[in-house]
Each structure stands twice: as C-alpha cells, then as structure tokens.
C-alpha cells in the first residue's frame, strides 16, 4: 500500500507565559518573549508522525509567518517531518483567519495530492480555532474539530472521536482535515542528534507569487482580510476586591460570604 500523504499546519507563537503587553497602548510586545511552536500544533504533528510510523507515508509541515518561523519548521523536521514549507512575504502579513486559510489552502493545492491535513485545536495567540475548518471549506473536504481520539484509519477513511462536550463518533472520507485537542497524544521531544541534523535541513520558502496559480495576492494578507482590529485593551484585574485573610477569622468570613450568596441562588 502506498503511504499516507499528511500535511500538518503549524504556527509559531510567542511563549504566552513570558510575553508582555503594554497596558497603555494595548500593544503586544512579541520581542519580549521567545517564540515557540503553538503547543496544540505539536499534538497535530505527533498524530501525523504516529500514522506515518504505523502505516507509512510522508509528513509535510507548512507554516505561514515571518522568517523566524523557520525555527519551528526545523523543530518539526527534528521530530520526524519529511518536508517543510514556509510561506513568508510582506503581502501575507496582517492576515485574519480567512486570509490565512486562503494562503494555507493554496499552498496545499500547490503541493498536489494529500490524504489528511492536521491542525491544532487553536493557537495561543490568535485563539480562534477557525483556520482549520476554513481551510477544509476552501479545499472542499470534510473536517472534524476537537478530535481527542483517532480510532481507525484506512486508505480511504478515518474514524475519530470529536469532543463537543458530549463525545461524538464520526467517519470521514479522505482526504479530510482534523483539528486536534491536547488529549489526543503526548508530543515526542526531538533528540539532540535530530536537532543538529535539522539545523542543516532545507526549508522551502514560498511567497505570494508561488501561490498565485491558486489565489490572487489581493486575497491574502491584510488586503485580503475581512476583519480589522480597531483597538486592543488589556483587561485589568483591578475590579476585584482583593481582600486577603490570613488568620483565624478567615473561616468565618468566607463562610459568611458563601452563606449569603448561596442562599440567593
């Protein structure tokens, strides 16, 4: 049997624990934090690598972002991906989810055939979870979101559990797209040797021109976006009372609050 052709979409994001926000301007200072691969996308990559190991095939990772995102692609190669493509171009910058999805869908079309596309459930910065289903729609293929279990995969179909609060079982015809949760697996760590090998790996770099056969440049980036951020505010925690109890009277105080509130429900 010929193996599966798997595509994994990964995004480089700032480490959310470290990134700083300017309360005055509402600006996100991306340079304040090291960049890493979106954690959820590592679960998507792990799922792809497991399928490849079990059934044979190739794993291609695609990322749209600035030049620095190469490091996330190299990390994916170190973990076992076969091929990595970076979509980078000033004309791709400032994209909302639909413009992002158009670029990614065009890149997948350019690759030619594929069987399975894997995405993270969402990104820790954009935090929409929209890009995956949008890519599926643009490619005209079925998708399942919040996949927490991969039950079966065969030449032409995949059976998955989708976590919608209640859990549902779906069978999708391939090619299909899945967005995966953190429950699906535990991502492997690359070995030092693999990291060194990946350092030298070639990353293919594509610009808007490379995608022009499938999508016009004016449908990409800021120009192709259908939403605009008009303002960003940092929510303050100041509206909380912030009363601290340390001593003996804490039990009584908290009980008092609970009793008056619970009685009201």
């Amino acid at each position: 049997m010929e193996g599966f052709r798997i595509v994994v979409l990964i995004k480089q994001v700032p480490d959310i624990e470290k990134v700083r926000f300017d309360v005055e301007t509402g600006r996100v200072d991306r340079s304040s934090a090291p960049a890493e691969t979106n954690p959820f996308d590592l679960n998507a990559l792990e799922a792809a690598l497991q399928i490849k190991e079990r059934c044979g095939g190739t794993v291609t990772v695609i990322s749209m972002g600035p030049r620095q995102a190469e490091s996330s692609l190299k990390d994916a190669i170190a973990r076992g991906a076969d091929r990595a493509i970076l979509l980078t171009d000033p004309r791709l910058a400032g994209a909302d989810t639909i413009a992002t999805a158009r670029a990614l869908a065009a890149a997948i079309k350019k690759l030619g055939g594929f069987d399975l596309i894997l995405c993270g459930e969402k990104t820790v910065d954009g935090d929409t979870g929209q890009v995956g289903p949008e890519v599926a729609e643009l490619l005209g293929i079925p998708h399942a979101a919040y996949v927490c279990e991969l039950r079966e995969i065969s030449r032409d179909r995949v059976v998955v559990v989708s976590d919608m609060g209640d859990k549902y079982l779906y069978e999708l015809e391939l090619p299909a797209l899945l967005t995966v949760t953190r429950e699906l697996n535990t991502p492997r760590l690359p070995t030092l040797k693999d990291l060194l090998r990946a350092k030298r790996a070639g990353i293919e770099v594509w610009t808007a021109d490379d995608l022009s056969e499938h999508v016009p440049a004016n449908m990409l980036g800021y120009q192709g976006s259908r939403t605009r951020v008009v303002k960003v505010v940092i929510p303050s925690a100041e509206h909380r009372k912030g009363i601290i109890y340390r001593g003996e009277d804490a039990v009584e105080k908290i009980a008092e609050i609970l009793l008056s509130e619970v009685a009201a429900i």
């Binding site: 926000f21 549902y168 340390r246 609050i257």
Partner: protein
C-alpha cells in the same frame, strides 16, 4: 424578503434548543433596535418545527425551521450547505452563532464558503456612534481584549455562552414561523456514527465551582473539594495538571484548553493562577482563592484571598458550614 435582518442560529442538541440561542436572541434584539433591523432565527434538525415558537418568545420576528430527517444528526457539511444557501437567499446583515464547540466547528466553514469575516468567541457586541458593529473578544490566551470590525457582509461572529443576558421569554410575542425542507443537503464525506459518551459534569452551567489544583497532594484528596461542593450545591473543577495526572476526567478542567466557566462563585484551592487557567474563569462572579503562597498570581484576580493550607482551611470551612446548617441559620442547599 421584507426588511433587513440580524440572523441568529438556533443550536439544537437532540431536538432541544441550546440556551445560548436565547441569549443570542436577547442581544440580537438590542442591536436590531439600534440598527433598525428585524431579528430572524434559523433552526435545523429533525422534528424541531414545534420548537420554533420558543424562539419567537425570546425575541425573533421570524423563524425559519429546516425540518428534515437528513438533518437529524450534527453533520457539519450538511448543516453548512443548508445554512450557506439560506444566507445567500436571505442576505442578513449580521449572523450570530454560539461559540460552543459545535458552533466553532460550523461557523468557520460557513464564513469561508461566503467569503466573509468571522470573529471568534466574542464576549461583547457594541454599536459604535457611526453605526458599526464592534465585536469584542479575548485573544492571547485571554491576556488582551481585541475590538474587531468586519468589512464584509454578513458580519459573522461566534459568541461565548453565558456572557449575554438571558432575556425573559414573552409567550404573547407574535412572529412568523416558516417551515422548510432544504432543497439540497450536501453531506459529502461525513458520517455521524453516534454518541460515544455523555459529558459527566456540566461546568459551563454551574453556579458554584469548587476547583482544585496542584496544591492537592493525591487523587483521593479531591474528596475534600467534593464535600464542599456538595454542601454548596456546586460542582468540582480542576486545573489542567490534575487531568494530565489522570485523577479526574477532562470535562472537569477549567481553562484555555478546557471549559470556560462563569459561575456566581469560583473557589480556587491550591491553584496558582496561570494565564491558561485564568482564561477559563476570570469572568466568574465572586472569586475566592485559597493558597499557601501569598504571592500566587491567583490572589491578584480574587475578590477574597485566604493565605492558608487548603488541607486545614477547607475542612474547617466545611465543619463551620455544617454547624451553621445544623442550627438552621442560613440556607445551604444541596447537602
């Protein structure tokens, strides 16, 4: 089609309307008054036509009910195809969908098919002075709030559960119900095979949550929190590490990769207050935190902080509440 409209997707689960749909109708009415729109609602499913009048009571002027056996199960491609055709025909100005897992899977497919903007997981909608819809949503794991405008039509947005006020239903409200059968149901490539498991606990609807984190030393100690939750008529939530340890199922997890909750009271015990945890509970009514470390970030987000060992504090709180209850002072429900 007469006037212009704001459309609300009424989400159904096994023929029942999800309450988010009523919340959206409440918000839609408010925006409709400001922008001079009608409120429309669309509901899909099998045997759901008789539910349509509820949507009128909650604020819809007109309800389209697509009642068809082929729409019985939640099939994202089938639902998408019917809704895309519907939106192309009726051309709403604004289209609101609940940011439930189902809504967040369905909405982006529709937006991509219609080539329109979609704003995810909003917590507020406002109308600006010049009559534009401003959509407000958390991003960067809840660290920022972005104000977003859409430049295409319809303006599509998914809205978080329990952030909009639930309107009072008015059974005397009149409106039109139009029952339809879809011309086309494209269900290509997706087969619904059934429900694997029910959600064990419903955190999203909980009014009181007693949550535990890594301050707990072993699985069995969750009982202490269960006892307090039981006494208060609440449920137990946890931070992510406890789920990773396998101590409790994922439906109890609060946070960025778990549930977003908005109880009246959230009691965080032995939880440090990571950005990922805060992202799921920062909008709770009253936040109480119990932690041994006075510098724990959770205290900056709490109304009442108790610097104490949860193993001492919570059992004492439980006995105190029981004693009060025994004396009939105050009401403690659910014990």
């Amino acid at each position: 089609m007469s006037g212009k409209g704001i459309l609300v997707y009424a989400e159904t689960r096994e023929s029942e309307i999800h309450p988010i749909s009523f919340e959206l109708l409440g918000k839609a009415r408010e925006i409709a008054e400001k922008l001079g729109l009608e409120v429309w609602s669309v509901i899909l499913g099998s045997g759901i036509s008789d539910k349509a009048s509820q949507l009128i009571h909650y604020g819809a002027d007109r309800v389209y009910a697509y009642d068809d056996e082929r729409l019985r199960d939640l099939n994202v491609v089938a639902y998408k195809s019917v809704l895309v055709d519907f939106v192309k025909e009726t051309k709403p100005e604004i289209f609101l969908i609940g940011a439930t897992p189902w809504g967040r899977s369905l909405a982006p497919r529709i937006a991509a098919a219609l080539d329109t903007g979609l704003t995810a997981d909003c917590i507020d909608l406002q109308v600006s002075e010049d009559g534009k819809l401003i959509q407000i949503r958390p991003a960067f794991t809840g660290n920022i709030l972005a104000h977003i405008e859409t430049t295409s039509k319809p303006i599509m947005t998914t809205i978080r559960y329990r952030v909009m006020k639930m309107p009072e239903p008015d059974p005397s409200r009149r409106g039109e119900v139009i029952v339809r059968r879809p011309e086309r149901v494209e269900a290509d490539g997706v087969k619904f095979l059934g429900k694997v498991s029910e959600r064990g606990v419903n955190l999203a609807d909980a009014e009181i949550i007693v949550a535990g984190g890594k301050g707990l030393k072993k699985k069995e100690d969750l009982r202490i929190l269960e006892e307090l939750a039981g006494l208060l008529g609440g449920v137990v939530g946890v931070s992510r590490p406890l789920v990773e340890e396998g101590w409790i199922s994922k439906d109890h997890q609060v946070g960025f990769s778990g549930n977003t909750v908005k109880p009246r009271i959230y009691i965080a015990c032995g939880i440090s207050g990571s950005p990922q945890h805060l992202a799921g509970m920062r909008d709770s009514g009253i936040i109480i935190a119990v932690n041994t470390d006075p510098s724990a970030p959770i205290f900056r987000h709490a109304d009442y902080g108790v610097v104490a060992d949860l193993y001492e504090f919570i059992p004492r709180l439980i006995s105190f509440l029981k004693e009060v209850k025994g004396h009939g002072k105050g009401v403690v429900k659910g014990a």
